[in-house]
Amino acid sequence: MPVLARTLEAANLSTVLVTMMPYWSEKVGVPRTLGVEFPFGHTLGASHNVPQQKRVILEALNVLAEAPEPGRTVHSGEIWGESVEDAIQSWQPKEPSPIIAELTPKFRDMLRKQRKNKTP
């Protein structure tokens, strides 16, 4: 999605990206970013929580209006109202995506080997 923001901005549209991953947005170089500490799939807040969704959107509009230069990230102060453990469980699909199912065992194995090599 950060590349879509860049492409639309390059096509003479002023953009703002709201994201749970400002880390990645900064790596790609997004024109204007509002970071939110929400679980994935809930970018603007909890379902039916109209006041929260509105606060996040107004923050994003503020970033759009006030960002002084490209690459600006603002961090929202909104707090997710569910425990981290519950949120991690609830945002994920019931079955791992195909790529996660395929890569996780291989990646875990690679990390295990890296750790082993580091051990004196």
Partner: protein, 173 residues
């Protein structure tokens, strides 16, 4: 009260996925594109773009999840055009990487058509484009966004210009 906070991008990620992101090298290509906002927000017409994998039930084809299931390193790069006036029960979602139950209850968490219509009615913004756009966020592994950048996003930009849009809010999943 304003809270001074730095968002932790990894807070809600399983450790193994977080580790993967942290090990992925990426540097921004400069210059970062920049279109200055040339009018007050109250006069701006907005377009909405999400990567939630939304489509119109009975109108659009869902995104191609069958191919992704048989070819996990591939993600459907196409997009769907969604009317801003769509009702919740007219929406479908294709996405294998997030639980889609909540967006099927309230689309505004990813495509805020209701919230933006309220902002128009209150006079906070100037307008909302009739057409919104939905992509599906997973673009393969390693991600390949060539079609997004070279074909599909320019088509969306052209449509937004035809609709008199000045600003775009983007909401990834």
């Amino acid at each position: 009260m304003e809270i001074d906070m730095t968002v932790d991008s990894f807070k809600f990620l399983p450790r193994i996925i977080g580790k993967f992101y942290q090990m992925t090298e990426r540097e921004p290509s400069y210059p970062i594109p920049w279109t200055p906002l040339e009018r007050p927000i109250q006069e701006c017409k907005f377009g909405l773009v999400t990567s939630a994998g939304l489509y119109q039930l009975g109108v659009d084809q869902p995104f191609d999840l069958e191919r992704e299931r048989t070819e996990p390193t591939w993600g459907d790069p196409s997009f769907r055009r969604i009317p801003a006036g769509i009702r919740q029960d007219q929406l479908g979602v294709s996405h294998l990487h997030v639980n889609t139950e909540d967006v099927l209850k309230d689309v505004n968490i990813l495509l805020p058509v209701g919230r933006f219509q309220e902002l128009v009615d209150e006079g906070t913004i100037g307008g909302l484009a009739k057409w919104c756009y939905s992509f599906m966020g997973y673009q393969g592994f390693p991600p390949d966004t060539t079609l997004w950048e070279e074909e599909y996003a320019p088509q969306v930009a052209e449509s937004f210009h035809e609709q008199g849009v000045h600003c775009v809010l983007l909401t990834p999943t």
